[in-house]
C-alpha cells in the first residue's frame, strides 16, 4: 500500500494481471519492475518463473498456453528486442497468445537507453504485435485484462508498455 493507504502502482498492475486470468508470469527484472516482480513472486495465484534471458520467456509462455494456462512475460524493452526471433518463429508462426508486459526504457520520464525507446514501437509494428501505453497505473489495471482478451481472440501476442507514468508510486 502507498503512504495514503491507496494501492501502489505495482499493486494496481498486479491486480490487472490477476483480473486478466494470467496464471504464469516469466520475468527478468528492470529496476522499475522490482516491486511488481516481488509481488508476483509471493502471490500464490500465479506461478512466477525467473528468467536469465527474455527469449526463454517466450518459449515458456508458449508452453504454458498450450498446457491450458494464460502466460505473461514481464521484461524491459531491451529484452523484447532479445526475444524477437522467438516471438516471430514461435509465438507468431504457431499463433499463440501471450501478454507482453514491457518496461518502456527510453520513454518520457526515463533517463537511459534513448535508442531503445526510439525503436520499441516500430519493432512491435514490424512484427505485427499490437501495443498499448496506459496513461497511468489505474489505466493499466483496466487495460491489461482487455489486452489479454484481445491476445486470446487474435491468437497472437499483445504488448502493454509501462512507462514511468504507470509505475511511479512505489509501496509506502
Amino acid at each position: 500500500m502507498g503512504e495514503t493507504g491507496d494501492p501502489s502502482d505495482a499493486e494496481l498492475i498486479r491486480d490487472g494481471i490477476l483480473a486478466a486470468g494470467v496464471t504464469h508470469v516469466a520475468s527478468l527484472p528492470d529496476i522499475n519492475l522490482v516491486e511488481l516482480i516481488d509481488l508476483l513472486e509471493h502471490d500464490e495465484r500465479v506461478v512466477h518463473v525467473p528468467l536469465a534471458r527474455e527469449e526463454e520467456g517466450i518459449g515458456i509462455a508458449a508452453g504454458t498456453f498450450l498446457g491450458g494456462g494464460m502466460p505473461a512475460v514481464l521484461m524491459q524493452n531491451a529484452g523484447l528486442l532479445n526475444a524477437c526471433n522467438a516471438l516471430t518463429t514461435t509465438a507468431l508462426q504457431f499463433e499463440i497468445p501471450m501478454l507482453l508486459l514491457v518496461w518502456y526504457a527510453g520513454h518520457l520520464g526515463d533517463t537511459a537507453f534513448m535508442r531503445l525507446g526510439e525503436v520499441t514501437e516500430p519493432v512491435l509494428r514490424a512484427l505485427g504485435i499490437r501495443s498499448f501505453v496506459p496513461a497511468d497505473a489505474a489505466a493499466a489495471r483496466s487495460l491489461i485484462p482487455q489486452a489479454t482478451t484481445l491476445s486470446r481472440q487474435a491468437m497472437r501476442p499483445v504488448a502493454v508498455l509501462l512507462t514511468k507514468a504507470a509505475l511511479r508510486r512505489s509501496a509506502g
Binding site: 496464471t23 504464469h24 506461478v47 518463473v49 525467473p50 528468467l51 536469465a52 534471458r53 527469449e55 526463454e56 520467456g57 517466450i58 518459449g59 515458456i60 509462455a61 508458449a62 508452453g63 504454458t64 498456453f65 498450450l66 498446457g67 491450458g68 494456462g69 502466460p71 526471433n85 522467438a86 518463429t89 514461435t90 508462426q93 504457431f94 499463433e95 499463440i96 482478451t149 486470446r152 481472440q153
Partner: protein, 207 residues
C-alpha cells in the same frame, strides 16, 4: 549410437507423455516414430526446452519429454539455470549431442572434441540440475530414459550420438495444425478446455 536408434527405443516407452522436439533431425525422426498428436515440432532453435518447461509447469501431473540438440542447447544455455530454478519433477530433457549443426549444413559445434569439447552434462550439473545422466550406449540411454519417465526430475540426459540423420518421410503438418492437434489432445486427455472463446455480442441470445 545413433539418435534414430535412441528415438526408436524411446518410442516403445512413450505412452501419454507430451514430446517437444528441436527443429531438425529430432523433429522429423520422432514424427516418423512417435504418436503425432502429443508431439510439438519446435521451429525456433534453442527454444524447445523452454517450451517444454512451460508445458511442464502448466501440467504438473503430465510428463513432458524434450528431445533437444547440442547446437540448440548452446544457443539457450540459460534454460539450464531456469529449469534448475523451478525444478519441475515432470520434465525430461534429452540432448542428442552429435557435435555439429546438422540442420544448418554440418558445421561443428563447440561440443566437438576437435573444438572446445564443451561438456553439456557438466554444465547441466553445474547449473543445479540434480538428475544428470551422460550416456553413449543404447542400453544406457534406455535405462536412463525409463528411469526419467518415472519422475523425480527434472532429468537431463546427455546422449552422445553419431552425426547421422535417418531418412524419413516429410512432415505433413504446418505449425498451426501442429499446435491445434496438440491442444485438442491435451484437452481430450486432461479433461480441460483450453480454447474457450466468448460468444460475440451480436450472436449472443437474449435472456
Amino acid at each position: 549410437m545413433r539418435r534414430f536408434d535412441c528415438l526408436t527405443a524411446a518410442a516403445t516407452l512413450v505412452t501419454d507423455q507430451l514430446v517437444v522436439t528441436n527443429n531438425g533431425g529430432a523433429s522429423t525422426e520422432w514424427a516418423a516414430l512417435g504418436p503425432a498428436d502429443s508431439h510439438l515440432q519446435v521451429k525456433t532453435l534453442g527454444l524447445c526446452s523452454s517450451i517444454g518447461l512451460g508445458l511442464a509447469l502448466a501440467l504438473p501431473r503430465r510428463t513432458v519429454v524434450v528431445f533437444d540438440g547440442d547446437g540448440s542447447l548452446l544457443m539457450n544455455l540459460s534454460t539450464l539455470a531456469t529449469i534448475a530454478g523451478r525444478r519441475p519433477p515432470n520434465l525430461v530433457h534429452v540432448v542428442f549431442d552429435n557435435g555439429i549443426y546438422e540442420a544448418s549444413g554440418g558445421t561443428r559445434t563447440n561440443t566437438a572434441e576437435v573444438r572446445a569439447g564443451t561438456d553439456l552434462a557438466a554444465m547441466a550439473r553445474a547449473a543445479g540440475i540434480a538428475a544428470v545422466h551422460a550416456v553413449s550406449e543404447l542400453a544406457e540411454f534406455s535405462d536412463s530414459f525409463v528411469g526419467a519417465l518415472d519422475g523425480g526430475g527434472p532429468t537431463f540426459i546427455h546422449a552422445r550420438v553419431e552425426p547421422v540423420r535417418q531418412k524419413v518421410p516429410p512432415v505433413s503438418v504446418d505449425e498451426v495444425e501442429n499446435k491445434y492437434r496438440l491442444i485438442r489432445y491435451i484437452e481430450r486427455t486432461e479433461g480441460i478446455s483450453i480454447l474457450t472463446r466468448p460468444i460475440p455480442a451480436s450472436q449472443a441470445g437474449r435472456s
